[in-house]
Symmetry: C2
Subunit: 353 residues, 2 copies
């Protein structure tokens, strides 16, 4: 399938504008709409497409907030009786429920690109936002196969990896990998409000990791959680049962086997996460390098790391309190660790594993 002749993107936020920009790089004729004239103007200024009217788009991408998706999809199916219509909302069951019985619903296929940045609005958009990201494609029971193909092609054109799930599976999956972790991250972060500063000064990278995602915007997350309430609630209830077992095990007499079961299950869960490039996670070893906090130190460290020939699997910087240094953790495959430590030590870095 070649790129569609003309696409209408409705909604010039981060996802809509990024989709439009990515399609423009493949010379697709992109038309834009937004109820907010400033958003539309900004997207046009970014060369994401034209605001000119369009008669017969081959594909309509509805990139409006979740609560506005059903009405916008319905209107698009009516206005363009031959177009395929898709959306980019983060939940799917409520949208299919709202479209039940809609005329032309066989031309609608749900979509959900798993991408985003801290930014929002058209100016945060990027043609490369979807590169290598999953784009979930959610056909309805009535969806035509050419509609599924058209939306699959859209995902591939913008550089994403298509993944096929039905609506219920999609909503469960995003509750598991995104919504429930967000809630739990927020609950841990919420405990910090009551703590004395001296206690927080002991925080290390573990607490930062667990609470990082809780720092993002409340409004967006109210919308997301509200629309996927049933799936999130079910998983939180299951999690609470295990939490109660932990609390029960931490009584005056600690019930070690009960606690061990929960810790073991957590450890096993982390190993189920796909590793680099979706393969099984390679066993890596961390090499630690304290560095001074000056422009260029990281450049020098990475240049020296590159010279060692050892490939970096992962990397973190832990900024240390009380002194102007940071600790860089470089994860490499096990047999590369000694090679890297030796190479960095030779170049004067206080590296250790």
């Amino acid at each position: 399938m070649t790129a569609p002749a003309s696409v209408l993107v409705i909604g010039c936020g981060l996802i809509g504008t990024s989709t439009a920009l990515a399609l423009r790089e493949h010379d697709v004729d992109v038309h834009l709409r937004d109820t907010d004239p400033q958003h539309l103007e900004a997207a046009v200024a970014l060369q994401a497409g034209t605001a000119d009217p369009i008669d017969a788009p081959v594909l309509v991408v509805v990139a409006v907030p979740p609560s506005a998706v059903p009405d916008t999809v319905r209107a698009a199916l009516t206005e363009f009786p031959r177009a395929i219509v898709t959306d980019v909302a983060g939940v799917k069951l409520p949208i299919f429920a709202a479209l039940e019985g809609a005329d032309g619903r066989e031309r609608f296929v749900g979509g959900h690109p798993m991408a985003g940045t801290e930014g929002s609005g058209p100016t945060a958009g990027s043609a490369r936002l979807f590169e290598g990201r999953s784009w979930v494609i959610v056909p309805g029971q009535d969806s035509r196969s050419d509609a599924v193909q058209r939306v699959t092609h859209l995902a591939e054109t913008v550089g994403a990896v298509p993944v096929f799930l039905d609506a219920a599976a999609h909503d469960d999956a995003v509750a598991l990998v995104s919504h429930v972790p967000h809630v739990m991250s927020g609950l841990v972060a919420g405990l910090l409000n009551g703590a004395p500063r001296a206690h927080l000064d002991l925080a290390g990278p573990g607490l930062r990791d667990v609470t990082r995602i809780a720092g993002s915007g409340t409004d967006l997350w109210l919308d997301i959680l509200g629309h996927n309430a049933a799936a999130v609630r079910g998983q939180l209830l299951s999690l609470r049962e295990t939490l109660d077992r932990v609390i029960g095990a931490l009584g005056d007499e600690v019930v070690v086997p009960q606690l061990a079961d929960v810790l073991d299950a957590g450890r096993a869960g982390t190993r189920r996460l796909p590793g680099k490039h979706g393969e099984a996670r390679a066993d890596t070893v961390s090499v630690f390098v304290p560095i001074a906090d000056r422009p260029g130190e990281l450049s020098r460290l990475f240049a020296d790391t590159g010279q060692s020939g050892v490939n970096v699997e992962d990397l973190r910087i832990d900024h240390e309190r009380g002194r102007p240094v940071g600790l860089v953790e470089i994860a490499v495959v096990a047999d590369g660790a000694d090679v890297l430590v030796d190479a960095l030590t030779d170049r004067g870095w206080p590296a250790y594993r």
Copy 2:
């Protein structure tokens, strides 16, 4: 205070060996003991100190597992009637409780270096393990001031930042910044065991962040949680109340204000965490750069980043599934973002913010 003339380190695991190695770099006369002859031999081979007997150490560092600390401290206070004695265990109230009424307890001061790696045992030890890390110093009610000074000096000698807390505050603080986050990370990770692979394929960096610390060893954590059960239990009970409010808010009718309160509190909590070097967290902007997964790509990226003159505040690598690339996220202060994007674009990188 100059470095002590002679120190006895009891227990040649990661922390004991690292302490010994760091003291050796300051030419302190370090003696070592371990009930495991292989650990002792390994630590001596690493030049962490000598296994020769010692008559009168100035300082004894007890670096044995938490459950063995009270007996070992008691024995050391008796064997060396003029020595200052400290420990490195991750909990403090149970240790002071077990030492109540012990002869010589005025010469004991608790300690807890906030450092560690994935490794364990003497071979994982490093003289630089404590650089820039907090070392909590926990005087008892009877501790002599010269004992507190001696232990403070130990922390400073090995490069750590001394932090003073009483035993109850210490145990609450580590429950908050370490033990409770570990439990919650494990509960989220535990949910992954029941999930189909196709759902896990949607996992992004957020889930990885939240679950990362749950991957570490069960035995160590059983010991840690078991010894700090009361503090951890109290905070988990408080967290469960908030969890119940979230579950309640996610009913058939979503209670938005209740959900908003919890999300807002989480967001506020993340902002209480000390940022770089213990200062308030600077507002940073992320620049994203997709890179090919080949040795040397990161080196080249960082060399180019260094040339831009923009200082890197933080950095993450998100490995993408389905294709041999990774997405590097470089956090810089807000006014550096455009400078960096321009500099990287000029050098051929597909950078965006």
